[in-house]
């Protein structure tokens, strides 16, 4: 093969390479920021942050990782939004993170469910030897999710007052958001109040600060939450803005 032939081939490949690079750039720009894969990577990144932090910081003395112990890390999780809940659950089930306790706490804070997903019902606890372990907690969430569509349908179509319906669903916290969003789209406007009660404010930082101020489960009751909702909060706007996260959460149904 002579030099001329090589040159021709080279000239031919230059545009192909340039187009490929451009394509990659365009695709990366137009792909969603909160894709499942990206969230997974972020979760791993935060897990590494915690692991490395432990070498220079003693960690925490509490029986569970508190917001005070890991404020920076919890903020990162809040930035990921409720769309991170499925990936956080998987990280525990698949044991892809070292700091499972942190991820469980993160799920808990993101969901912000009043009755801890029904675990405080009458003070009864499961006799399952796994009870209390992160994996068991994820199992409970999955069970709750499984019953969620039917349960909300039942509540929504019941004779309950709006206030009673909102109170009844409040125990699911953010987990109910995809179904609630659908019902609002379907014209059940009264559920907008439910959205307001779970979100409090359009700002992620503000929501984080509000949840951080909660110290007991009572703080997550409808009554307590009502005092925290911003007056100018627009539920429809929030649903629209966070549609992608809601869709990600819906995938675990």
């Amino acid at each position: 093969m002579n030099i001329t032939t090589l040159k021709k081939i080279g000239i031919l490949f230059i545009p192909i390479i340039a187009i490929s690079v451009l394509l990659v750039l365009v695709l990366s720009l137009i792909s969603p920021k909160t894709s499942a894969e990206q969230i997974k990577k972020e979760i791993i990144k935060i897990d590494n942050l915690i692991t490395n932090k432990a070498t220079i910081d003693p960690g925490f003395k509490s029986s569970y990782p508190t917001i005070e112990d890991y404020e920076v890390e919890f903020k990162e999780i809040f930035q990921l939004g409720i769309g991170a809940i499925p990936q956080l659950m998987e990280s525990i089930e698949n044991k892809t993170v070292k700091n499972q306790a942190f991820n469980i706490s993160a799920i808990w804070y993101l969901i912000s469910a009043e009755d801890a997903l029904g675990r405080y019902n009458g003070g009864e606890y499961s006799k399952d030897p796994d009870s209390g372990r992160p994996i068991y907690f994820v199992k409970i969430i999955r069970e709750k999710i499984a019953e969620l569509p039917t349960e909300i349908e039942k509540i929504a179509t019941s004779d309950m007052t709006t206030e009673e319906k909102i109170k009844a669903v409040n125990k699911y916290g953010m987990l109910a958001m995809p179904i609630i969003a659908d019902r609002i789209d379907a014209g059940e406007k009264y559920w907008e109040e439910y959205v307001a009660l779970q979100v409090f404010d359009s700002s992620i930082e503000k929501r984080f600060e509000i949840i951080k101020s909660f110290k007991t489960l009572e703080d997550l009751s409808v009554k307590s939450k009502k005092n925290k909702v911003s007056k100018d909060f627009d539920a429809k706007e929030w649903l629209k803005k966070n549609n992608e996260d809601i869709m990600l959460l819906k995938k675990i149904y």
């Binding site: 003395k61 029986s63 606890y125 372990r133 997550l220």
Partner: protein, 501 residues
């Protein structure tokens, strides 16, 4: 030389010779004795008599007769008096010989030593009634309980050759005769500095002693009234009777080295009854905390501990009844100790129970016993100094498991039902029940201990064989010397509940 002078000289020589011979004969029978030899004047006779070995209970040779049981104990002016027994009574005499020494320290009794004083006849112990501390509080005999009101510090007063004997629950008091020279004067405690508060301790051999009161001019001995064997039988002074042993006593050193961890830590479980003492070694000067933990008592029974710290030789250092000025059931001593051997004692507060069963601990405060960080170069003692009195690292930093997991026997997972916050005690009760645990009203040597308050339980430890082991959040697994390992105002606080499976 004139004949008369020779005669006189021969007479003097003969007299001296006879005197020497006589003295040799007298001493021949007493070769086995040692002590003072000299002349005394017997009250019934104006003549001086030769006495031998007056410095301790022994014999008196008067003329050709050996009289038994002689004590030389007191001095008036330049005269040294003796008391000696004869058939059917006692006689007293004195000597001007100055080579009678004041009574030396009694063999076998340590100056400033602390002793239990046991009556030979009854086996009961000299005891200040009901731990009273005021002048005139009665002294009687009682069964052994080891309390400081049964411990007596023996102080030798060298200038007088006498002893003062102080009860250790009221150290300013003395063992005291309420009277002077009269039989059946009661023995009590008093802080007066008179002969009534002073004694001569006389060895009778075989580890037995008699206590002669100075106020009776050392003629009377402390004795149990009626030679009773009963607890609560009174103690008074009587002329010493050698044929009975209710006026004879044994001094038992207050020491019982039961455990020695050979380092700066020690731990022990005080069981009911006899095993109430624990020795320990301090290798370096530091502030140490000694405290009793949850007294182990049947449901509803209140136990109240008193804690004492002593040197190994029995010398009392300090004691504590309640941890705080407020009434508590537990005791704590915080003290800087130099290297040496010590022992602690725990006993039940009077009028509660005659025994006590509880845990107690000795540990070094504020000391870095082990590095406790995941990064071994990072000293974490600062972080723990406000949390726990003492700990010993036994497991590495890991967030694989937490306190509750460890307490339940799980080390491969985190266990916490309440990811939002701390549960209430009722929630913990319910959870523990679901896991097959039963709530018990008091700590046992094998149980799970929950810490916090009724409104918020934040920590658990596993109490096994009296040692509390706990995972501190994501920190290390540590061993505490007692379940009461945390400052009450700390994140964890005090034990609130106990569970057993």
């Amino acid at each position: 030389m004139k004949k008369s002078i020779v005669k006189k000289f021969s007479f003097v020589i003969s007299f001296v010779f006879v005197l020497i011979l006589l003295t040799s004969i007298i001493n021949f029978g007493a070769l086995a004795h040692t002590g003072f030899s000299g002349y005394v004047s017997v009250n019934s006779s104006s003549s001086y008599r030769y006495v031998y070995n007056c410095a301790s209970t022994s014999s008196l040779y008067i003329g050709a007769v050996w009289e038994e049981y002689v004590d030389v104990f007191w001095k008036e002016g330049s005269f040294y008096y003796i008391e000696y027994a004869i058939t059917g009574g006692y006689k007293r005499g004195y000597t001007q010989k100055t080579n009678i020494n004041k009574t030396p320290q009694t063999s076998g009794i340590l100056n400033n030593g602390i002793y239990y004083i046991k009556n030979v006849k009854s086996g009961k112990y000299l005891d200040v009634a009901w731990r009273g501390t005021s002048n005139g509080t009665n002294v009687w005999q009682w069964g052994f309980h080891g309390g400081t009101n049964q411990q007596w510090k023996v102080e030798y007063i060298s200038s007088e050759g006498l002893y003062k004997i102080h009860p250790q629950h009221a150290t300013s008091m003395n063992l005291h005769v309420n009277g002077t020279f009269s039989e059946a004067s009661n023995v009590d405690i008093n802080n007066e500095n008179t002969l009534s508060s002073k004694w001569n301790i006389v060895s009778l051999g075989s580890g037995e002693y008699k206590l002669m009161s100075a106020c009776s001019e050392r003629t009377m001995a402390m004795a149990v009234v009626g030679a009773s064997n009963d607890a609560g039988a009174d103690v008074k002074q009587y002329y010493y009777t050698p044929t009975t042993d209710n006026d004879e006593w044994v001094f038992e050193t207050v020491v019982n080295l039961t455990k020695d961890y050979g380092s700066s830590e020690a731990r022990g479980e005080v069981l009911t009854g006899s095993n109430l003492k624990m020795g320990f070694t301090v290798n370096s000067t530091a502030t140490y905390i000694i405290e009793t933990a949850q007294p182990n008592a049947p449901n509803g029974v209140v136990r109240d501990t008193i804690l004492e710290l002593c040197y190994l030789n029995g010398n009392y250092i300090t004691s504590n009844d309640d941890i705080n000025s407020n009434y508590t059931y537990y005791s704590r001593i915080t003290i800087t100790l130099n290297p040496g051997l010590y022992f602690v004692k725990v006993y039940e507060y009077p009028n509660k129970f005659t025994d006590v069963a509880c845990y107690f601990s000795v540990y070094r405060q504020g000391s870095l016993i082990g590095t406790v960080s995941k990064n071994s170069n990072y000293p974490l003692m600062e972080d723990y100094s406000n949390l726990t009195y003492d700990f010993k690292k036994i497991g590495n930093y890991t967030d694989t498991y937490n306190c509750l997991a460890y307490a339940l026997g799980i080390t491969n997972d985190w266990v916490w039902e309440w990811w939002w916050g701390n549960p209430t005690l009722a929630q913990v009760d319910s959870y523990m029940s679901s896991q097959g645990y039963t709530k018990i009203p008091y700590i046992t040597s094998n149980c799970v201990v929950a810490y916090g308050t009724e409104a918020s339980v934040g920590h658990f430890s596993k109490n096994s064989s009296g040692i509390a082991t706990a995972k501190l959040g994501s920190y290390e697994l540590v061993e505490h010397i007692s379940a009461y390992a945390y400052y009450s105002q700390s994140t964890y606080g005090n034990p609130i509940a106990y569970y057993t499976k």
